[in-house]
């Protein structure tokens, strides 16, 4: 995973509550078996006027001029300012993949859906929770000032505003550590392999019914499906 230390960038406001992951990346793009290339279809149903399909040339599609992502003043934005319950709905990690691929590294919102919030950290995106009033202030500032930028310092847990006081934010210490150092969760967990093995053998002893072999079923499967 790529490191996150300081991000200084243009802010794009998405003034809408309950933005769900279907909104962020519609289902037809989930058919890809890759992790990359989702950025051109970020917010697809709102960004373009026609219906998007995988493997089409998005450059020739009609853009929706009213959608914020298409407005000239927000081109190159890397900080997404959002409303309550951002990322609700499906667990698709394609949502953070699309945000990341487009170039967003930070999200600011009053609240997030749990699975999406978690998925962001696995992809080097920093979702920050801020009080509703602060979010309202930021929306007003972004709309009023073209080219409005913020600096996000993860180590200091500080959001620096132009012409206004800095805002401190919270982040779990372990997640912060992983982001700052670009650490891979699996690698960290496997350092505890012995603990896991020990737990597993105790658990197998205590609750053997969870360890019945599904291999038997697999043999039946081969016969049943005739493949």
């Amino acid at each position: 995973m790529k490191k996150f230390t300081v991000e200084s960038g243009l802010v794009m406001p998405l003034d809408r509550a309950n933005v769900d992951t279907d909104f962020i990346i519609p289902k037809q793009f989930l058919k890809s078996i890759k992790r990359s290339g989702f950025g051109v279809n970020l917010f697809d149903e709102h960004r373009y006027l026609d219906k998007g399909e995988p493997d089409t040339d998005n450059r020739s599609r009609p853009l929706n001029p009213d959608f914020v992502l298409n407005q000239a003043r927000y081109q190159g934005a890397s900080i997404l300012l959002a409303r309550d319950n951002f990322g609700c709905g499906s667990s698709r990690e394609h949502a953070p993949w699309a945000l990341d691929d487009y170039g967003f590294r930070v999200i600011l919102a009053p609240s997030y859906a749990d699975i999406f919030f978690n998925n962001c950290f696995k992809n080097g995106i920093l979702p920050i929770v801020l009080p509703r009033q602060t979010i309202d202030e930021l929306f007003a500032a972004v709309v009023a000032n073209e080219g409005y930028t913020l600096e996000v310092d993860l180590d200091q847990q500080m959001l620096c505003r132009p012409n206004a006081s800095d805002i401190a934010f919270e982040v779990d210490s372990f997640r912060k550590h992983c982001l700052l150092n670009g650490l891979d969760d699996i690698g960290i967990t496997l350092e505890d392999s012995e603990l896991i093995t020990a737990f597993e053998s105790r658990w197998r002893e205590k609750a053997p019914w969870y360890f019945t072999q599904s291999r038997i079923g697999a043999a039946e499967n081969t016969e049943a499906s005739g493949e």
Partner: protein, 473 residues
């Protein structure tokens, strides 16, 4: 010191390690896999040269992409017209075979929606921790398991380590007291709950559902409730184990047998919250107050009793909420003040991991038997949740009832719940759907979804608009 909740008990029994900031390593008993959220995880394993930690803990089946017409299905993988979908389904087959993972393939007679098939096969057991790269994994909580959706990075993490890194959620109890009125179903209960607490009401919590109305539900009804816990913002919903749970599980293929069964059943009886357990939040509903529900907007919390009307903007004081309602009504092509029963429909979808089990199909069949689908209904699909549900329904003659009434009887899969396959709702069309999400574009580009129970969807198919099923009895 107060007692433990059911969630506390399952969490504690699976805790491998806890860091100072509360980030914990939790052991995962069962990992369910489908074709959409797993390819990148398997690819990650390959790149890192890793093997699954415990291959036998995994259980896979394709469901999201697969066609539901019998013409396509009988031709196997080759029958999948969409080449991108075909690659995704065959990639799952290849990954499961490479990593030695149990899979019910597309044309196995037991295949189906992973959240229908897991419990049906007994792969879901009380007290388990269960994860899947799918938010509706909360369904399995109906059997007293701790089950929730995860992202693809976590799918890879679980494959590689049999553990998940997470922090403990808070405890919420939602109690539905009293007896459920006739014509009101599990779907109506859960929609009413979401209407009350909102789509973010359960964020940060694991919800335990309790109370007489919940206890009196069958396991299938309980699955409908837990399935939509995620629509209330909670990753996991669960229901305490009782005799109904044990009766449901006994004898299923993956369930323990003989002496092991007796021991397991004994242990599972402990899977209830202690009387003095502490819940961080308690929500109470009276079953008697719940009516059949219909969503009118683009979020499951935009819901009304069938006897109600669509809210008007003037009556909403909160500016943000007013904006949301305005946006939703514009998308839905509806106006405030319209009676729910006056919403005209174009399509009906009976299926999904919320409502595609045998009892759901029976409920729907009871409403349409001997009747005909209304002239304005262009498409009415009945998509059973699994091959076994389909078989059972056909044994009971339900397929004939649906077909004679003018509904289409399909092969199992996720189908038009999320429309990743060819089953899609047309632009601007209104659909009475037994699924779980009414988001913009969810069932098809520009499609307009109304979430309802199977009986309500069936009644809507016959009348061409919503009607109160209680009046049909």
């Amino acid at each position: 010191m107060s007692g433990k909740t059911l969630y506390d008990k399952i969490w504690d029994s699976h805790l491998v390690k806890e860091r100072e900031d509360g980030t914990s390593l939790i052991y995962i008993d069962r990992h369910l896999i489908h074709e959409v959220t797993s390819p990148q995880a398997f690819e990650g394993l390959r790149i890192a040269g890793r093997q699954p930690w415990r291959a036998s803990a995994n259980f896979a089946t394709p469901d999201h992409n697969i066609p539901t017409t019998s013409e396509e299905r009988k031709r196997g993988l080759e029958g999948i017209k969409d080449p991108v979908s075909k690659i995704q389904v065959s990639t799952l087959d290849n990954n499961c075979s490479e990593f030695n993972i149990f899979e019910l393939k597309m044309n196995d007679f037991r295949q189906g929606i992973v959240h229908v098939v897991g419990p049906e096969q007994g792969a879901t057991l009380p007290g388990m921790t269960i994860v899947c790269g799918d938010s509706h994994t909360s369904t399995h909580g109906a059997l007293g398991a701790l089950a929730h959706g995860i992202g693809t990075s976590e799918v890879e993490h679980v494959l590689a380590t049999q553990c998940l890194m997470q922090k403990k959620m808070k405890n919420m109890l939602i109690r539905v007291d009293g007896e459920l009125p006739t014509g009101v179903t599990a779907k109506d209960i859960v929609l009413a709950i979401i209407g009350k607490i909102g789509t973010a009401g359960g964020t940060g919590y694991t919800i335990e559902f309790g109370g007489e109305a919940i206890r009196s539900l069958s396991i299938e009804g309980r699955m409908t409730i837990c399935n939509m816990a995620i629509e209330a913002g909670a990753r996991a919903g669960l229901i305490a184990v009782d005799e109904v749970t044990l009766t449901y599980i006994k004898g299923r293929p993956f369930a323990p047998k003989g002496a092991l069964w007796s021991k397991a059943a004994q242990a599972w009886k402990e899977l209830v919250s202690d009387e003095d357990a502490h819940f961080d939040s308690v929500v109470e509903l009276r079953a008697a107050d719940i009516e059949p529900q219909v969503t009118w907007g683009t979020s499951p919390e935009m819901v009304s009793p069938v006897t109600g009307t669509i809210p008007t903007l003037e009556n909403e004081a909160d500016a943000t909420k007013r904006g949301n309602i305005e946006q939703a009504l514009r998308y839905m092509g509806l106006s405030g003040g319209t009676a729910i029963e006056d919403i005209q429909l174009d399509c009906v979808f009976i299926g999904s991991c919320t409502n595609s089990r045998i009892e759901d199909l029976r409920e729907a069949a009871k409403v349409v038997v001997g009747k005909r689908v209304a002239a304005n209904i262009e498409m009415a699909l009945v998509v059973p949740g699994s091959g076994l549900v389909k078989q059972q329904a056909e044994n009971e003659g339900l397929d004939k009832i649906f077909i004679e009434a003018g509904l289409e009887w399909r092969e199992p899969g996720c189908s038009m719940c999320l429309a990743m396959n060819a089953d899609q709702l047309g632009e601007g069309k209104h659909c009475a759907s037994t699924s779980n999400r009414n988001f913009e574009g969810r069932q098809g580009f520009g499609g307009r979804t109304h979430l309802v129970s199977p009986a309500m969807a069936a009644a809507a198919a016959i009348h061409g608009h919503f009607v109160d099923v209680r009046k049909l009895a």
